[in-house]
């Protein structure tokens, strides 16, 4: 009886999930840390408001936005045709992909061809690219992740990553593994690069915000917010989007290592 009662009440409220002072963003693990940061700042400025950021992956975020489970989806990959038919999208920032190694690694520059060969499994020893005589530990993202798709498209140009590569579920996890293993190489969002790893120059161009803005460093992808087509995502969502796109929001992204949307 008690249970039946509970069930009825629960089902009863399920329609009223989205409250006026809570916003759910869900999606890309690459975008999440940055969205969460801005969410925290926004919450500090607006008491009583909750910005919930679900770090689940681009595809999950896109699905969530389509199904209305989240007001805003976050994606670090381009929408597929069938997805963009159902969703409106907005570029909130751009992000460079950096190829990172252990700080002790002798190698500081690779050509794009070398990066391709390493991730395709053709070059397996650091000696072959001017480093120590040691087997390369490859660390990549898993299929489906926006970073994985962006890396395959921008850097590998369609050559698949070898199955021998270790796979980790997020930028942070790759950084963690590379920071621990002297012979590792991986790719992560430029905004995530810190002192525990070293970002390599590609064709002698350093992955920095300046080089990206100047158009020299080419491995750049977009971070997207998406929401159900034609339907504004609600006042709070709109207010948060406005904040993210404002000078303050964009400057904050820049401070964190991202590149402004435009």
């Amino acid at each position: 009886m008690l249970i039946a009662g509970c069930m009825v009440t629960l089902v009863g409220c399920s329609s009223g999930r989205t409250t006026a002072n809570a916003l759910t963003l869900s999606g890309s693990t690459s975008v999440s840390p940055f969205a969460e940061h801005l969410g925290e700042l926004y919450q500090k400025q607006h008491a009583g408001i909750a910005i919930n950021v679900q770090s689940l992956g681009s595809s999950a975020g896109i699905q969530a936005a389509i199904q209305g489970v989240a007001e805003i989806g976050m994606s670090s990959r381009d929408l597929k045709t069938e997805e963009s038919a159902k969703l409106d999208q907005l570029v909130i920032a751009r992000d460079a992909l950096a190829v990172v190694v252990h700080p002790s690694n002798q190698v500081s520059n690779l050509t794009q061809q070398q990066v391709k060969d390493i991730f395709a499994g053709k070059i397996v020893n650091w000696r072959e690219v001017g480093g120590d005589d040691a087997r390369i530990t490859l660390v990549a993202r898993e299929a489906g992740s926006g970073t994985f798709a962006a890396f395959e498209e921008l850097v590998l140009k369609g050559i698949p990553v070898t199955h021998a590569a270790l796979r980790q579920g997020s930028n942070g996890a790759i950084r963690q593994v590379v920071a621990e293993d002297a012979h590792a190489i991986g790719y992560i969002s430029l905004g995530i690069v810190d002192a525990s790893v070293r970002a390599l120059a590609i064709d002698s161009i350093q992955p920095t915000q300046l080089e990206v803005i100047a158009g020299h460093y080419k491995f750049v992808r977009k971070f997207l917010f998406v929401w159900t087509k034609g339907k504004p995502p609600g006042t709070l969502a709109q207010a948060f989007i406005d904040y993210v796109m404002s000078e303050d929001g964009q400057a904050e992204f820049e401070k964190l290592g991202l590149i402004r949307a435009s």
């Binding site: 008690l2 249970i3 509970c6 999930r17 409250t19 925290e40 199904q67």
Partner: protein, 277 residues
């Protein structure tokens, strides 16, 4: 080698195995607590995390953990205890109980990732609950149900038959007898099961991450997404956000589990003393 020599050699190996096991436990707990405990403070427990958890405390994750666990139990305990009463007091072993037992045993063996997949596609997506306390709690409730059924059954079975006979001879109906005699006697055993089930809910990750989400805010309703301590620990550690905070969170987790085990053990000891085993 004489049989005696063989025996001595084998027994030495067995002693070493036992000591190795204790040592492993000590290393696991020690490795977390030694680095984590100095960073656990009242502030850590009562403040919200900042900067993705690099700063501040873990209050929302404690709230998330407790809420998920408690709500899961509110759902699972009546059902589980009811099922156990049915199995022990209301029916003879037969085809029906065999089916129920098969269901319970099988459910107990289902890996948590499967519960996660199920919870995600059933509660989160099909019933449109979203990633929420409710979806997470319902998933956990299904997961801990076998634990509750089994421990309750065992507790009820330790109640001597003479108690029941006394009840009946006083003219009690079956339910009156169960309510006034069997359940009170079995209560400590049942509570032990509930506490252990809570422990299982606290330490769960795979089933929770797909159903309750990862949001770091204090929940405001049953439909808020939450991040539990175990999930927070996982994210801090794997993403390399802050190892210090990961150790501190891990310490709180381990101490919680430790406390749960201690309480459960005290209860078990009280029960076995009463029953005189």
């Amino acid at each position: 080698m004489t049989p005696r020599r063989v025996q001595s050699a084998v027994f030495v190996v067995i002693w070493l195995a036992a000591l190795l096991t204790l040592l492993t436990l000590a290393v696991i707990i020690g490795a977390i607590i030694v680095r984590g405990l100095p960073m656990v403070s009242l502030e850590f427990l009562t403040r919200a995390p900042e900067d993705l958890g690099r700063q501040g405390g873990i209050l929302p994750t404690i709230a998330g953990t407790v809420l998920l666990g408690v709500i899961a139990l509110i759902i699972a305990v009546p059902v589980g205890v009811g099922a156990a009463i049915y199995l022990t007091e209301y029916t003879r072993e037969g085809r029906l109980t065999a089916i129920i037992r098969f269901g319970t045993e099988s459910l107990a063996g289902v890996p948590s990732i499967i519960f996660g997949l199920f919870g995600f596609i059933f509660f989160v997506t099909t019933l449109k609950m979203g990633w929420s306390i409710l979806a997470g709690a319902l998933t956990l409730a299904v997961m801990v149900l076998p634990t509750i059924i089994r421990t309750t059954e065992e507790a009820i079975l330790t109640v001597p038959y003479s108690y029941r006979d006394t009840g009946y001879s006083l003219g009690a109906t079956r339910w009156e007898m169960v309510r006034t005699t069997v359940l009170p006697t079995a209560l400590p055993g049942i509570v032990t099961g509930i506490i252990l089930a809570f422990g299982r809910a606290v330490s769960e990750t795979a089933a929770v991450i797909f159903t309750a989400g990862t949001a770091l805010n204090l929940p405001t309703s049953l439909f808020s997404p939450v991040r539990t301590m175990a999930v927070h620990f996982y994210i801090l550690a794997v993403e390399g956000i802050s190892l210090d905070k990961a150790y501190a969170t891990g310490t709180v987790l381990i101490l919680t589990i430790l406390a749960i085990n201690v309480v459960a053990n005290i209860l078990v000891r009280r029960v076995s003393r009463k029953v005189g085993r």
